[in-house]
């Protein structure tokens, strides 16, 4: 039974440089801050960072897995609070959790949160799904 206050089971995704390259090609966002460490550092970043929209695509996968498919999602939003830092030859976590905040008929609103290395990276995130 889905009701307000229901928590969704936490899920962990892993992000590495190969995924950033694949996402750059799939999304068309070839900004070098997501692939080139030297460039990222030259513009004041600590290292290569993940595309905010990759973070959101993975959180979206969390939502669609729970909701029963991509077609179930009606609204989806989020704020990129901090970057996901992706050092070379490492995989970093993206840990996603969620809480049901509204149920109106078959429309369910969930509040989402994502962290990486213990730091909140996606906040103010909501999805509305039909389930």
């Amino acid at each position: 039974m889905i009701q307000v206050g229901t928590t969704l089971e936490e899920q962990i995704f892993y992000i590495d440089r190969a995924m950033l390259k694949a996402y750059a090609d799939a999304s068309g966002d070839q900004n070098p801050i997501h692939q080139n460490e030297e460039f990222a550092v030259s513009v004041g970043l600590p290292n290569v960072i993940a595309h905010g929209m990759l973070t959101m695509a993975l959180v979206g996968k969390f939502v669609t897995d729970w909701a029963g498919g991509s077609a179930a999602v009606k609204e989806f939003s989020g704020r990129f609070v901090k970057p996901v830092i992706v050092p070379a030859n490492q995989r970093v976590d993206l840990t996603v959790s969620a809480l049901v905040t509204e149920v109106v008929g078959d429309r369910i609103t969930i509040d989402l949160k994502a962290t990486s290395a213990g730091v909140k990276v996606l906040g103010m995130s909501k999805a509305v799904v039909v389930k």
């Binding site: 995924m19 694949a22 996402y23 090609d25 799939a26 999304s27 068309g28 966002d29 905010g52 929209m53 990759l54 959101m56 695509a57 993975l58 979206g60 996968k61 939502v63 669609t64 498919g69 991509s70 077609a71 999602v73 009606k74 609204e75 989806f76 939003s77 989020g78 704020r79 990129f80 103010m124």
Partner: protein, 129 residues
């Protein structure tokens, strides 16, 4: 600086874009989505990013894209995107303010398939000082 006269105006993308199955497949592969019959909820960024970037880089608007950081993002999805959809993109600069030297711009992009509005997206972009 962004030209203040552009706030509230809607700019149409030059060309229509047709979504291919291979584009949906590639996007799904990154996030290990097995069902490729419809596009994942954030797929539309593939179309709107490029189109709005082209629109906002227009000299009469004057956004300096090289200093843009993505602040937040919202999608309203009327129906899922499928392969074969052909879209026209229009972008509206909904709000603009300057805070601590940073420019904060909210851009709404609508994807229409003929007369049907399929997806609306809102992107808040921060142009760093």
């Amino acid at each position: 600086m962004l030209n203040p006269d552009s706030v509230g105006r809607t700019f149409a993308g030059a060309e229509s874009v047709t979504v291919s199955q291979s584009e949906i497949d590639a996007f799904c592969a990154v996030i290990s989505e097995g069902d490729t019959t419809v596009a994942p909820p954030t797929f539309s960024i593939r179309i709107t990013l490029e189109q709005s970037q082209e629109i906002l880089s227009n000299p009469e608007i004057g956004l300096d894209w090289s200093r843009v950081v993505h602040g937040d993002q919202r999608f309203e999805i009327k129906r899922p995107i499928v392969a074969g959809d052909t879209f026209k993109c229009s972008s509206t600069i909904e709000s603009y303010k300057v805070a601590a030297g940073n420019e904060i711009v909210t851009v709404r992009s609508d994807l229409h398939s003929l007369a049907e509005l399929v997806v609306s997206t809102w992107s808040t972009l921060v142009v760093r000082a």
